[in-house]
Amino acid sequence: MIPELGEYALIISLCLSVLLGTIPLVGASTGNGLWCGYARPLSVALFSFVLFSFLCLGWSFLQNDFSVAYVANNSNSALPWYYRLSAVWGGHEGSLLLWLLILAGWTVAVALKSRNLPDDILARVLAVMGLIATGFILFVLFTSSPFERLLPRIPEDGADLNPLLQDFGLIVHPPMLYMGYVGFSVAFAFAIAALLSGQLDAAWARWSRPWTSVAWAFLTLGIALGSWWAYYELGWGGWWFWDPVENASLMPWLIGTALVHSLAVTEKRGVFKSWTVLLAIFAFSLSLLGTFLVRSGVLTSVHAFASDPDRGFFILALLAVTIGGSLLLYAFKASEVKSESSFGLFSRESFLLINNVLLTVICAMVLLGTLYPLLIDALNLGKLSVGPPYFNALFIPLSLLLALSLGVGTLMRWKQTEGGSLAAQIWLPGLFATVLAGICIVMLPSLPGFYTSIALLMAWWIVFTGCRDLLNRVRHKSNPLAAALSQPRAYYGMMLAHGGVAVLIVGAALVSTYSEQSDLRMEPGDRKSFADYEFVFDGIQHVEGPNFTSDKGVIRVLYKGEPYTELHPEKRLYTARGNVMTEAAIDPGLFRDLYVALGEPLGGDAWAVRVQYKPFVRWLWLGGLLMTAGGILAAMDLRYRRQAQRELARSESMG
């Protein structure tokens, strides 16, 4: 009964999304205010029904309703309740429903939070969101309904959730990532609405900016969580593999980052408008492409659930319609866009342009490396894979270049900066950065390579140019400290995010250079030393879990000869599917992780053991968190609210 209600709710949502996608659009283009006015209530209704449908699925999971095929395939009565709940998005069908719920959530958020938007713009934005929702609800209903029943042969118990996904990381990673992916649909909808209405001005950028920042922040968080999850659950201590699925999330992030910066220029200076629109279109298109790559089964990874070709075809069609349609619209309308001002060669605009070009180039090379094997395979020219060296060879120098221009751009003024004053600004941060990077390099256990040294230099460069910029803003004030504390939130958001980049660079550089790793055959009593740490293998204990049995290793760690801690890596056998899973044991620290994982038993009491020493690995995710916080903080800037109040007052006085 409950699953059927869920399915009906989804069908009703389809009708609502069709209405939402048409009525306000027609209303906006014919100037019919009544029809425009339908946008908001329809959005609320759409969200309510999708939410109801989602809750129905969640209820089926909690109740262990194994007559529902999706529940039977992804859950088990022995599964703890929180994993049963997160199993809702543990497979293809449910994760699409989550996608849909988040899309509806963003739609309703725009509807409720944008009371200040002109009615026709809001109507168009919500209508575009409705059209996207229509596409995805059709996709869910026709190719991947999570509510299909297994009747009359109801399985006695479920097949269990893939043990890799029975983890806190999975509870939070997909929702965060989807918040980001789908969040770009808002930026996309604003861009399309602006193209349709022809009102592509600074106001448009100002409306679109906070939404884009929030979506970007969520995507950042989602990627960081994914990397963290892979590190402790899947990757044997790796944190980025250039796996196509990771690339699928990185590409919208790169373009999204470019978009966040380009929007800033469009809002402040009224230039780059058509470029910003193009970025908004591409950010969302790449999110869709990511969904296609991951969900269609053309890629092979933990994310590529069992799939059938219809689904891939459907998403591809959706992708073609979205990209083709929006680019066509862009082609017709973008030529009408005029820049409102000009800028000189040495200006903040120029450096944000360089930032955009670099990010786009990085994205293009990731795209090439990701799609190339698929293309070759589709043309029947053979099967191949593109290795990490390709990505590293291009990504590292380009991102360091990006860090360099980040620092310069921070110190640039809008419109025009004199070469002389720029040099006067730059030399001191440059000197500080060089000295401190030099000190760091000397303090490191061994001399780092070229890229690691440059990375350290760039991290300090970002920090000191940021400090310099803050100093410029406050030093002529009567009370510099108070001035520093009263900077707008958007400014702090920027500083925080840029600081996050610096932290991330340090983490990536040091963990790549100074990690130590050994695969060992260990018998009880065997030892292995890394840096000041010594690992002693004390054998294996047998442990029973709720839905698994486990061999738990006992590894004592000594620090400089003194007992320090004990690590318990596990080898689990999940009984429902007979899956074997490695649970690594980690002793986390701000400056280093100790990482131990069990391989397989080698006969007698001997086990294969992987022991790792990972300096600064936490900084990777710390950097991601700082960027996330920066994005959120920037979106909460008071000026958006003040702007909203002003526009509200104006519209009321006019009305």
Binding site: T300, A306, V361, G369, Y372, V386, A393, A597, R610
Partner: protein
């Protein structure tokens, strides 16, 4: 051509040149780093290059896995039920590595036709078969039945 247009032209040319160089370097890097996939039949026929990094995949032959008692060295055979290739590897095998399971190994062929693997990949789901392996088995007409229908469904 007015100065503004000329400036714009220069910017466009600059971007085109930059993109051109980037694409050139990218394609170069790409060509250096692709790993081609070969089936055991292709390797036995001598189609695969020696001492170049390749990917090879097939089913792990039952009873062929041989672990050294002293170290982490392991060797096993992979097959497409037409030909088999020996794989040697040092290290920890993935959790889903099992006899009778489809796997992909990355490494280089040595003079004896043995694949010296640096990485062994088995995927994350017991019903999963690497598509390269599935295709190789299809080609050899040796897709296990009816178990084959259970894979990738």
């Amino acid at each position: 051509m007015n100065p503004k247009r000329r400036q714009r032209l220069f910017i466009v040319l600059f971007i085109v040149a930059g993109v051109g160089i980037a694409v050139g370097l990218t394609l170069f890097a790409l060509n250096q780093n692709i790993n081609l996939f070969y089936s055991p039949t292709q390797i036995a026929a001598g189609e695969a290059p020696m001492d170049t990094r390749i990917r090879a995949g097939g089913m792990v032959v039952e009873g062929s896995v041989n672990r050294s008692t002293e170290s982490l060295d392991v060797s096993f055979d992979i097959t497409d039920y037409e030909k088999t290739v020996r794989v040697e590897y040092t290290g920890i095998l993935p959790d889903l590595f099992r006899e009778g399971q489809g796997i992909v190994a990355q490494g280089a062929l040595d003079g004896d036709g043995v694949l010296q693997a640096v990485e062994v990949l088995a995927k994350h789901d017991e019903n999963y078969m690497p598509p390269e392996v599935a295709e190789a088995l299809e080609k050899a007409g040796k897709m296990p039945k009816p178990a084959g229908q259970e894979f990738n469904k």
